[in-house]
Amino acid sequence: MGRFGAGQPMRRVEDQRFLTGTGRYTSDIDLPDQAAATVVRSPFGNARILGIDTEAARLAPGVLGVFTAADLDADGVGDIPVAARLTSRDGSPMRTPRRPVLADGRVAHVGEAVAFVVAETIAAARDAADLVMVDYDPLPAVTDGTAALEPGAPPIWDEVPGNQAFDWETGDAGAVAAAFATAARTVAVDLVNNRVIPTAMEPRSALADYDDKADRLTLYTGTQNAHSLRDWLCDLLPLPPERLRVVAPDVGGGFGMRIFLYPEHVLVLWAARRLRRPVKWVGDRSEAFLADTHGRDHRTHAEMAVDAEGRFLALRVATVANLGAYVSQMGAFIPTLAGSGMLTGVYRIPALSVRVRGAITNTAPVDAYRGAGRPEAAYAIERLADVAARELGLAPDELRRRNFIPPEAMPYRTAGGKTYDSGEFERNMRDAMARADWAGFPARRAEAAARGRWRGIGMSTYIEACGGGPDEGATIRLEADGTAVVLIGTQSTGQGHETAYAQMAADALGLPIDRVRVVQGDTDRVSDGHGTGGSRSLPVGGAATAAAADALIASARPHAARALGVPEAALDFAAGAFRVRDSNRFVALEELARQAGGLSAAARFRPPAATYPNGCHVCEVEIDPETGAVSVVRYTVVDDVGVVLNPLLLAGQVHGGTAQGIGQALLEGAVYDETGQLLTGSLIDYALPRADDLPSFDFATNEVPCRTNPLGVKGAGEAGSIGAPPAVINAVVDALAHLGIRHVDMPATPQRVWHIIRSAQDKAAA
C-alpha cells in the first residue's frame, strides 16, 4: 500500500445514507415558518420590458411579497459579477452587458428571472406568479454565435457593439503563417462543439434563513464552492462576510454548473432578510434547462500544416464561442485561456495560433461544464489528427506515433505555453489498442457487415490541464476521544470526498477509517476554501490533507518524547504510534491526543503548476444504415491520472465523464429556435445517456506519477468527458468512410447520420 493509503479501493463512507434515503439535499431541508418562492421568468428570447404590474399578485391569497428589479435596486443590491475578463487583440477591453439579479427593463434569454414571488405555500406562490403582468415588447432574437457576429444581426446590448464581447488571440501567427507557406500539405476541419446542458440530477435549489437577533443569514444550497459563493454574495448584497453563512448539504451532481452565483441565491437571502423568515426556492427541471449555465457551443475552423512524413508543423485555430445572453462568471475564460493552451494535445507542434471571438446571443449563459475548454481543444486536435491520417493514407495510430511528445522529452514546454511534467502517450495508446483488440477489428467489422451493420473504430489520445490555480488549506483535529476530523474547503458533489480524505488521514494517522470524519461545505466550520472545480480536489486538497497529517504527527512528536522520556530523534512514527527505535516501547497517537485534550494541525498547498492527466480512448460503434442509429458496442479507456488513491472512486469519475462525453457526441444538444425558445427544455426533448445506451466500459490506468505535487496524483474528474467525444466521432466517421464521408457533427443523432448517409449515397448515384 502506498503512502496515505494510495491504491486501496476503500468502500464509500457516504453510501449508507444515500442507500437508505437519509441523504439530505437542499430540497429535503425544511425550516420552521418557512415561506415558499417561485421565479417569474421571461417567455421571450429578446424583449424590452415596458412595465411590470404586480398588484394582483400581491393581493393574491397567502402572498408575502412580489419583488422586481426596482425593489432590489432600492436596496442597493448589485449585479451578478463577471469574474474573468480579457483584452481583445486590438487592445480594447472585453465588452459586457450589465447583468442584474432580476431583469431591469430588458430580457435577453428565455427563462431569465423577472420577478420573485414569495408566499405561504408553493401553490400560493405559483398561483400569484401567474398574476404578475409583465408588458413585453418582443425584439428580433439571434441564438447562433456565428450568426450573431454577422453584419445586420439583431443587436442585443448597446454596450456590446456587433454582439462581440471580445476578439482574442494568442500564439505566434507569424510562425504559423510561415510554416503553412512551406508545408508539404495542410489539412483542415470545420467543427461544431455542440451546446450541452449539464443536467445534474438534483435540480438547483436554495433555502435562506434569517437570524433576527444576530442579523445574520444562512444559505443552504447545492454549490461546488461555499466560500467563493459567500464572498460573491457578500459583495453583491452587500453584507460583511461574517453576516453570511453558506452551507452545502448533500449535492446531487455539479459538473461545473454549480460553481456559479445564480439569481435565486440572492433572491432567497434578500427576501428572507426582508420578510424575517426562512425562504425556500426549489427549481424544477424546466428551470434547470432554461436557467442553469450551459456548456461548450463553439464553432471552430482548425487547420494544420504537415510535412511529407506526416509530422505536424503548425496549428491554426479560429473559434466563435457562443457566450449566451450575458458573459457568465468564467464565461470568457473557458473558450480562451482554459482551452487554447491545450490545443496542441500530446503532440510536438512547433507553432500555434489561436483566435477566439466571443458572441452574445439570446440564449442561456454558457460557462464551465465538465472539462471546460479542454474538451473543445481535445476535440479539435483529435479530429484533425484523424482527418490528417486519412488524407495522408496513414493509420491513425501510426500518424499519432510519429508526432507524440516522447517521455524522455519531459518536462516539455508546448507551443501553447504549457509545461507537461510527465506522460507516456505512446504507451497509453499501445495499452488501449491491446485491450480493445484493435488488431482484431477487421474481423468484427466483417461480422457486423454480414448482419447489415457498419462498424467503425476510433481513438483519441488526449491530454488536459487541471488542478492548477489557487491554494487549498486542510485542518485535521484528532479529538481526545480518538476520532479525527478533516476540515476542508473543497466540495464533493458525488465524487466521494468524505471517503477519499478520510482514507488518506486514516492511513497517515493509523486510525480505522470509520473514526475519521470529513467536514466540508460550511463556511462557519471550515475557515476558507476554493471549492471543487477543474479536477482540483485531490491534487490540491489532497496534498493539503497529506501535509496537515504530517504536521499533526510533527506536533505530537514532542509530547511523545516527553511521554517516553527519550529525545525526539529516537522516535519513529508508524501505524498510529511513536516507537522508540530499537526498543519495544511506544505511545499511540490517540493516547497523546487524549492526554493533550486533542491535537490539531493545519497546512496549505499551493500548486506550482497544473497537472496533466492524459490517456487513450478507443470506441467501437455500429451504425444501422436504414435508421442512422449509432450504437456504442465497445469502449476502452486507458488513463494516466498519476498515482491512484482509490480505484473505486476513480472508476466512478472516469466512467461518468466518459458517459457525458458519449452523450455529447451522440445524444445531447441544446436547440433554440430562431425566436430564442429552447426546444430541448425537458428530459423528454433533451436526451441523456440511459443504461441501455452505453456499453460496460473497460478501464485501466497507466500510473505515471505527477512531478509537481507531493502525492503524484493528476486530476481525474474531467478526463472522461475530454477523451470521449473525439473517440466516438472518429469511430462514427470510420464506419461511414466507405461512403466518402469525412466528418459528422455532434451530436451524431440517428436523424443527422441518416441524412449524411442518404446525401452521400445520392451523390454516389449521381
Binding site: 479501493p9 468502500r11 464509500r12 457516504e14 453510501d15 449508507q16 445514507r17 444515500f18 442507500l19 437508505t20 434515503g21 437519509t22 441523504g23 439530505r24 439535499y25 430540497s27 429535503d28 391569497p61 405555500t121 401553490a123 400560493a124 405559483r126 398561483d127 443536467t199 445534474a200 440530477m201 438534483e202 435540480p203 448533500d250 449535492v251 446531487g252 451532481g253 459538473f255 426549489v282 424544477d284 427541471r285 458533489t493 458525488g494 465524487q495 466521494g496 472512486l649 472508476a651 466512478g652 466512467h655 461518468g656 465523464g657 466518459t658 458517459a659 425537458s682 428530459l683 423528454i684 441523456l688 445517456p689 440511459r690 443504461a691 441501455d692 445506451d693 452505453l694 460496460s696 466500459f697
Partner: protein, 159 residues
C-alpha cells in the same frame, strides 16, 4: 386552481404502516411522501415521469411517484427506500451497491435500488443486458451506469 380546497382523506399503507393523509384528486404520491410524511428518499428530479428518481414500489412493482395520484394508491402496498431496511442492515441489493461503488451523488440511488429490487424479484438472475434494460428508466448523470449494472448483476448472483 392549485389551492387546498376539496381535500379528502386517503388511507395509504406505506412501508407496512397505515397513514391517513389529506389528498385532493390531483395530489401525487410524491407530494404526499415528501411534503406531508417527510419521506424524502423519493427524489423529485423532473416531476414528469422521465428521470426515475422518485421511483417507489406499488405492490412490489416500480412506479413513478410523481405520476401516481395518491388517491389511486389506496389499497396498495407502497414501499419507499426508507422501508427496505430494518435497522442498519442493508438489503443484498444495497450491499452490492456499496461493494461495487455504485453510489455517487446519491440522488438517483433510491430509485435505482427500488427498480433493481423489483427486477430481482421478477428475474432473480438477470444478465447484463436485462439489467441495462430494466434500469433504462432511471437516469444517472454521475456513474455511466457501469458500476450500478455490475452491482445489480452481482446481487442476482448471475455471471
Amino acid at each position: 386552481m392549485r389551492g387546498d380546497e376539496g381535500m379528502t382523506t386517503v388511507a395509504l399503507r406505506i412501508n407496512g404502516v397505515e397513514h391517513s393523509v389529506a389528498a385532493d384528486g390531483r395530489r401525487t404520491l410524491l407530494e404526499v411522501l415528501r411534503d406531508e410524511l417527510g419521506l424524502t428518499g423519493a427524489k423529485r428530479g423532473c416531476n414528469q415521469g422521465v428521470c426515475g428518481a422518485c421511483t417507489v414500489l406499488l405492490d412490489g412493482r416500480p412506479v413513478r411517484a410523481c405520476l401516481s395520484l395518491a388517491a389511486a394508491c389506496a389499497g396498495h402496498e407502497i414501499t419507499t427506500v426508507e422501508g427496505l431496511t430494518e435497522g442498519n442492515e442493508l438489503t443484498p441489493v444495497q450491499q452490492a451497491f456499496v461493494e461495487h461503488g455504485a453510489v455517487q451523488c446519491g440522488f438517483c440511488t433510491p430509485g435505482m435500488v427500488l427498480t433493481a429490487t423489483a427486477l430481482l424479484k421478477e428475474n432473480p438472475k438477470p444478465n447484463v443486458a436485462e439489467v441495462r434494460t430494466a434500469l433504462s428508466g432511471n437516469l444517472c448523470r454521475c456513474s455511466g451506469y457501469r458500476k450500478i449494472v455490475d452491482a445489480v448483476v452481482a446481487a442476482g448472483g448471475a455471471r
